[in-house]
Symmetry: C2
Subunit: 344 residues, 2 copies
DNA sequence: TTATAAATGACAGCGGTGGTCAATTTGTAA
DNA sequence: TTACAAATTGACCACCGCTGTCATTTATAA
């Protein structure tokens, strides 16, 4: 019923210590022994007891995920990826929703880490972009991985998984350009999220590359919300010279823009193309469904967790400390974009 | 830095055994001692090591939350409530998203429980409505609490937190009736979710009480999705005798209905009132914002967890085994409902 | 064969709980 | 006030399942 390390040791005909060695893939275990033990583990469907490992070892077998994100779909996707990685490596996941704007947020994070004896922490925006958090964690010597918006690995961004919003936005913009659009507007997300800035930069770069200088009137500040999209699109559609396409900084904004366009009797995509970003369930619930960029959040999360695990393994830290995987969200063409009216 | 039970014992001037007794609130600890120890615990900000407790004790200090729900907001709310309760009582929460339709789902749940040595499980639909899960858990002697749709406590529904969809739907319907509507349609959710049936029953009961017999043509089968709302409303608005109000089984359906109405140039709420259910963030992102019923999911989750904790405490099981709190979602009037056109 | 490295095992201990029993304190009735 | 029972507390041990340390055995090279 309850399989312990002793059962495995007995079946494999070795000491429990050797089983432990195999599980932690320590060096200096003979290949043959290694295989015998692995077979026994598999046969018994043995899974080490996390509590015991946490208690006994200096290492920890739990990682934490701290978040404060109004987008529940994002959080759920992240959790899924982290859990999968944890399951694979026998770790536990501690989730910790909290308020990023709290005054004692740094202390709260420290308390959490110390109390739960975490092996490491996965940080997403806004935490991943708060220098005081990173500093505090470094000070107390707790490992962490940040998921942040960025295109190029750099020494400053150690321990990061990068999401290349710049390139993705560049590609999306190209998609619109290829459809013949030249008057393209951009609805920004919250300024304090670097993703919004990165996406805008990618947008501008794509235009510039085509010899189109971005029109300041078409760049509308806002926030990551439906309302913001409604307002932004309304403003744009009342402009004397309307854009023929709108790049919304995320799907929610795009949905708002779609809504606004519909109110103004503007046909999508015949008269106006709209793109979103993120590929949230939201983007499929609009009509027409949104062209968007797919962010593989679960995969990103898995990768982040794997990074943490790999680093917490003794004897392999060298060279891996600055590993920085880069994910580029992929263009997903659906029905909210079409040829520029008048072109062709 | 790391506070253990020994530190507490020393500060309080008692033995570690007594500290342990206080923490597990065993009987036969003098009030004064109890307070001394509690003070010491508070002063040191001591929190027992969950790993050690899990490992040593017969009891467990983790509960599990198994879910398979496409509505991320619901899941996040539940998690929040569970976490809060866990924090308060020094428990850990293990989250386990999975596929309810998997063939080996029962075995999977059993494995989870056994491997993680869980104190209990919190089940939401669809798991809470699967008799095979309840049977399996009872068989292996693991405690669990189900959150299900139901209005009246009954011996059959042991260990349940009830969400009274019936009464809530009754109230919503009354709201529409009071606005003068009599031709009210109902857009159903998935048949296999009992919540849909309960809501429909409440709807019918309210009508019947006013002497209105529910019109079968106005009761539209469907599922808990935006598309379903779009289709359902389209059907209704093409009827020779249109309804003046639509009761959608949840906010997503309502949003779809809203969308559909807008396509048909129907003014909301001047020509048609629409209500949703759940008070999801979704309901605030429509225009106009939806009248809906607020389901206090976090609170419900907390309550469920507390039930689990209380039962796992030794020596208090009697009489509590069949406790069944009932939550009634509350009517939240926003702008998608208005007086029946023509009335008054 | 012997020195040396590689592979394995014995054992203590992580921070608590559970149990037993003795010691101490408290309450209570005579 | 005393005596005795009951309530409270502590001392101590084993143990949960695993890892860290160090000693021991085995294989390999010289």
């Amino acid at each position: 019923m309850k399989v312990t390390i002793n059962d495995v040791a007995r079946l494999a005909g070795v000491s429990i210590k050797t089983v432990s060695r195999v599980m932690n893939n320590e060096p200096s275990v003979k290949k043959a022994t290694q295989e015998k033990v692995s077979a026994a583990i598999a046969e018994l469907n043995y899974q080490p007891n996390a509590a015991a490992r946490n208690l006994a070892g200096t290492r920890s077998y739990s990682i934490g995920y701290i978040y404060d994100n109004p987008n529940a779909y994002y959080v759920i996707d992240m959790q899924r990826g982290l859990l999968e990685a944890c399951r694979k490596h026998g770790y536990e996941l501690l989730i910790h929703p909290t308020n990023a704007k709290s005054a004692q947020i740094v202390q709260e994070v420290i308390d959490l880490v110390q109390h739960a004896r975490l092996a490491g922490l996965v940080l997403t925006p806004p935490f991943s972009e708060m220098p005081e958090i990173a500093e505090a964690l470094e000070r107390i010597g707790v490992d962490f991985v940040r998921i942040i918006s960025g295109s190029t690995p750099s020494p400053k961004l150690t321990n990061c998984v990068l999401v290349d919003d710049f390139t993705a936005a560049f590609k999306i913009t190209n998609h619109l350009l290829e459809l013949g659009h030249t008057d393209i507007a951009f609805l920004c997300g919250d300024e304090e999220h670097s993703s919004s800035g990165e996406r805008l930069a990618g947008f501008k770069a794509a235009l510039t590359k085509r010899g189109i200088s971005p029109n300041a009137k078409y760049i509308v500040p806002g926030s990551y919300s439906f309302e913001s999209g409604v307002k932004g699109a309304k403003y744009l559609l009342e402009l004397p010279h309307k854009p023929t396409a709108i790049f919304a900084c995320n799907d929610e904004i795009a949905a708002g823009a779609l809504f606004s366009a519909r109110l103004s009797q503007v046909e999508i995509p015949q008269q106006l193309s709209i793109v979103g970003f993120e590929n949230s369930p939201f983007s499929r619930q609009t009509w027409p469904p949104l062209t968007t960029a797919h962010q593989p959040n679960s995969t990103i999360a898995m990768q982040a967790a794997e990074l943490l695990f790999r680093r917490s393994r003794p004897g392999q830290q060298q060279g891996l400390a600055a590993e920085q995987p880069v994910f580029i969200p992929e263009l997903l063409v659906r029905d909210s974009t079409g040829a520029c009216p008048g072109s062709s």
